[in-house]
Symmetry: C2
Subunit: 374 residues, 2 copies
């Protein structure tokens, strides 16, 4: 791990800026200023928040705008919190992330302080997960598996009406209803589900379409579930694709190709392997199996996204398993999620979230892979 020699400064809302939540462990919906200078870690919060901040992380030196000597006018602007903190601590030069707010940077520079853009990640330690973090991600991933089971049970109980539409009792079974069942289960696991993808039919060829309306037999139903723990802020990420009733032979071939590509990609995961080579392996396998990627009338088809991404306090974070994917390291948590998408058929995606080990990987939660739901 590359160590930063300087001091690092972060300004933002901890509930939104994962770096700040990571280093401060202080959950809050209002902006804070964090400074790490050598071993010292400072957090500036409004006076009202001092009690919570101290309780959240006793290792932080908590300061308020008053304690920094800010007058009434400057007390409400975080750029002045940051400037006053640097002056109080005698830090004249700080490293910041690319996402650092320009407004704060300009104010610091105006006051003669130097703001240096970190060339790499400002929190390189975030990319490798601690045992404690893995517990948090596993919790979210297990919640996703439970929710998927609940969704599959609903699809299993559903009957198919004369027009091929799924019904729960008399009601038409919709993406919205399945989403609701997923979110209720996630909530029982103290996770927020956001808008999980329950995409049925040809429109599932759009990987991020969340899905709307009646679900039908014989069509792919892509379910992508990404819970965030309400307590810890860590995410899980899981996708399965199912068909109620009999899938077409074309769909079965697509499914088998994705399943095979995912298994091979998983088998190639281990510390020391480059993310890009795992991704290239998936591309090559799909081509070999006859599934070409192209752009038709401006719409991309085939395998049209990366093979995976890191998961932690952000749902999409480093490392990438796409064209920019660097060498994997022990303790990284990544998704492996190849997919195939064709406008006339729909999408197939299979995704697991795993921990990279020296020899290979470990599932954070196991979940069967079966296309057909009777």
């Amino acid at each position: 791990m590359k160590k930063l020699t300087g001091s690092r400064l972060m300004v933002g809302i901890p509930n939104i800026c994962a770096d700040i939540l990571y280093v401060s462990r202080f959950k809050a919906a209002d902006p804070v200023v964090f400074l790490q200078h050598g071993r010292d870690k400072y957090l500036v919060v409004s006076r009202m928040e001092t009690g919570r901040a101290r309780a959240a992380n006793p290792a932080l030196k908590i300061l308020t705008p008053d304690e920094l000597g800010l007058d009434r006018k400057r007390r409400w602007q975080v750029s002045h919190w940051a400037a006053a903190l640097l002056k109080k601590t005698g830090v004249g030069k700080v490293d910041v992330a690319g996402t650092f707010p320009l407004g704060v940077a300009r104010e610091l520079e105006k006051q003669g302080l130097r703001v240096r853009l970190a060339q790499e990640e400002l929190c390189p330690e975030r990319v490798v997960k601690t045992a404690g973090e893995i517990v948090h991600i596993r919790h979210a991933q297990r919640a996703a598996v439970k929710a998927l089971h609940g969704a599959c049970a609903l699809l299993e109980q559903a009957r198919v009406d004369a027009r091929g539409v799924l019904r729960e009792g008399r009601q038409v079974l919709t993406s919205e209803r399945v989403r609701q069942v997923i979110n209720r289960i996630l909530l029982d696991e103290n996770c927020s589900g956001g808008e999980p993808i329950v995409a049925g039919g040809p429109l599932s060829a759009n990987p991020h379409w969340i899905g709307h309306g009646p679900l039908k037999a014989g069509e792919p139903i892509v379910m992508d579930i990404f819970p965030q723990s309400l307590e810890t802020g860590y995410w899980g990420d899981l996708t399965r694709t199912v068909v109620k009733g009999a899938p077409s032979p074309a769909l079965v071939r697509m499914y088998q190709a994705v399943k095979k590509a995912q298994a091979e990609a998983l088998a190639s995961v281990r510390a020391g392997v480059r993310g890009v080579s795992i991704h290239q392996g998936v591309i090559d396998r799909f081509t070999e199996l006859g599934f070409e990627s192209s752009v038709t009338k401006g719409v991309p088809e085939g395998f049209i996204h990366g093979t995976g991404h890191g998961v932690g306090l952000e749902i999409h974070e480093a490392p990438s398993l796409g064209f920019g994917g660097a060498i994997l390291r022990v303790g990284q948590v990544v998704t492996i999620e190849p997919g195939l998408y064709y406008a006339e058929v729909g999408g197939i995606r299979i995704e697991d979230t795993v921990v990279v080990t020296r020899e290979g990987f470990e599932f954070l939660a196991t979940c069967p892979k079966q296309l057909t739901i009777r």
Copy 2:
């Protein structure tokens, strides 16, 4: 409304950056680039997202990194998306918000483009809500009211055991359990509840403490519910404080003071009034009623936060009803939420979310205010 004369540029994740979601109406968990130049609005998204982006907002000109001519190396960096977009559109100078990412600003400047920090809000139009936005906020606010009713019903059904602890059947009734009931109701309204505050006992003197453990009779229970619509992203915000059983005379006096201050603050809301003067009115009233604010052993007591804040695509947004509070305008949506907090007693807060009108205000949802639950 002050119009910006230049072009405005935004770079970030729409689901996180409210300005971008507001102007693009495109929900996404990955970064995009938005440029408004005169009447033209451009959005750069990855190729995979073009279909969703076009469907979300037909008024946008959607571009991809490929269409901007970016090579393999630059195709993955949003700073290059932004630079290429400005060059393609011939825009040499842009206005950006204070939150604009420094990394992107530095890259643009390196390429000879001018990045000007907007002196005021970059999206001044966000502060006054359209009729459509008010519908969205009302939906979230009504969900909050329903959830509060559910929580109160649970407290009403609870019995008090010999030690004064609330019980639901045989189970001890905890903050966690009430939070769960609140979140389930919010989910049924297609809202995400996050971590609503259900803070019982003296620790509720910390306004943002979410509350943990058994709830007891005779103690204040602060319930602060802030749902976000999963569909639209708009928030609601509602707080009530209740006591199961008989409150102490001191608590009743505190409650009456907060109720009175809130009613008066509401009565003073109308277009043309300064937010700071509403806030000062609350401070003065509390002082008059004998509720002093001070800092005891580093812990602030009394009325220790602002009187309110704007609500929209962010839970805390402009306008402020605190010391920095400017003139209110018709169509703004704000909370009115005075509170009193004393370490030995706990907290009392009453909060409603209202629309500012020419003559006064309108509740977005009505909800009774009663301290005691039998």
